[in-house]
Subunit: 317 residues, 2 copies
């Protein structure tokens, strides 16, 4: 789960290592964590920190895990709250099932970002899916999630999952045209260095990687944020995807404004009505939440390690 629209410069109560110039207008409270959210100034949501469980920095980003009083364990990425145990389900379920329930029998699914594994866990609940590719560049992030959030990282245990350790932009370029039924983008800014996602070629590459009538779902901010221009966004995406475009939202109390939105797009082909799901989720298929135990007898029957394809193994087209 990567929820970054800007370079957050937020700090937790435990961060003391950088200068505080950008925090002049943002309150700090010892023993409490808060994002400094420059996209909606003048407010701050604080969580009480019971214990800091992990702090570290990978090649790409800084990470912190803490035990909160109110939301269970919390994962912080470059100072931005990524997810909490209490409400991660609301986000992971919606970003996954909105696209996957909108088409018949999704088979091949790509996840870009989403290194925590929660979306993998949810994709796993669709019995029709045979191939789940995830492109996540930061293996340290995955390791931290596996250690501190096993109920989320459990998504990696599904034998259908293949991890591609690569930059999302480079990976999407390498995908043969029409490969996937669904692509979920859990990184509003999946390409480094930062750039404008909607104006660049990324969406066109995603559209190209989808089969006709395939679907994409991407996190698209809160409807309460003044910076969000849904009309502009959907118009842009209509041009690029050439199928249907819709906007959805759900409630995630730990996020700013308590709401997060999703942009849903389908490519030219069979019409996709995102408001009326055609592929109901089997309520008995809870593989994601209780491990491989409910994989049907038709599956290989062995729990296998997640397949990892290192960056160099990918052939760029």
């Amino acid at each position: 789960m990567e929820k970054k629209t800007v370079n957050y410069t937020l700090k937790s109560a435990a961060d003391h290592d950088e200068d505080d110039d950008d925090l002049v207008d943002h309150p700090k409270v010892p023993g409490w964590f808060s994002e400094h959210c420059p996209i909606w100034p003048g407010q701050a949501h604080f969580l009480k920190v019971e214990k800091i469980l992990f702090q570290g920095r990978s090649e790409y980003q800084s990470m912190m895990v803490f035990q909160s009083s109110a939301y269970g364990k919390v994962f912080v990425l470059d100072g931005a709250l990524q997810l909490t145990e209490k409400d991660e389900c609301a986000y992971q379920e919606m970003i996954t099932h909105l696209p996957l329930c909108s088409i018949q029998n999704p088979n091949k699914v790509l996840l870009i970002g989403g290194g925590d594994g929660g979306i993998l866990r949810e994709i796993s609940r669709h019995a029709s899916v045979q191939q789940i590719d995830i492109c996540e560049i930061d293996t340290m992030l995955i390791d931290v999630y596996k250690k501190y959030f096993p109920g989320i990282a459990i998504g990696y245990e599904d034998p259908r999952v293949t991890l591609h350790v690569k930059d999302g932009n480079a990976f999407i370029k390498s995908v043969p045209e029409g490969t996937y039924d669904a692509i979920i983008v859990d990184a509003f800014d999946p390409i480094r260095p930062d750039h404008e996602l909607h104006e660049g070629p990324f969406f066109e590459l995603v559209a190209k990687a989808l089969r006709p009538g395939g679907v994409m779902c991407i996190q698209a901010e809160s409807i309460w944020l003044p910076s969000l221009d849904i009309e502009h966004l959907t118009a842009k995406c209509s041009q690029k995807f050439k199928g249907s475009v819709d906007y959805a939202w759900t409630i995630v109390p730990a996020y700013p404004s308590g709401v997060i939105g999703f942009l849903l797009c389908s490519t030219e082909g069979q019409f996709v009505d995102f408001r009326n799901p055609v592929n109901p989720l089997d309520p008995n298929n809870n593989m994601g939440s209780n491990g491989v135990g409910t994989i049907s007898a038709d599956d290989e029957g062995t729990k296998q390690q997640v397949n990892i394809q290192e960056e160099d193994d990918i052939i760029d087209h």
Copy 2:
């Protein structure tokens, strides 16, 4: 709008007059306001205060109005955030139109609490309504809203409105059986001193005041609050109202968890399906938001002062 489930003891940055014993576990930041929300400890949502516009105390409660950076003007009652200019519409519209759109041609409507006037503004948008009674005990609260939130208190300008200055419990006892088509309760704790709303006789009195197949809507907390037991609540209400019972929610970012719920009940009589409105709101009838200008030519044609019936004028039955 009275959003109280407990005795909030919250303090703003501007409150210095009481002891701070109960704030040991709650952060304070100079120049920022936050509720101290004992029903969900370990988190705090802060709003930056640009200017305090009003502070005062009526016979019943303390009030504060401040200009925030992020949410426009904010009204605080006994330390609890009641509403903000930015997101009040989300609350007022849902608590009003959920019940009023669920029945054909609502005629007589009672509002208990809701002294700010925003729900009156929304009720006014229903052309079928001929009588709007509001029971609000605190006239100072009304005056403060009229001065600082004219776009909300505009609801009082509708000539169909009669204000009853009385305690909500006493008033509901005085209502003849079967009087109202709809009753909206905008005070989770409408009776002072504090008591258990769901266990006491209040709901039975509301049901009695409704016609057969009439509807009630009351604020019913956030689905994210651990204290909310929707099953228990709806079971209790099924017993008391004997019609249909449902639970709804909407997003109000300034409230704890960003979500607020509503309990909807109908009395024995014609079945009410709260999920499929039968009385669509006329989108051209925006009387509430732009004053009396759009009252139809069939109305009296004169803007009149709100009718006020003082407490002593009410005959107790």
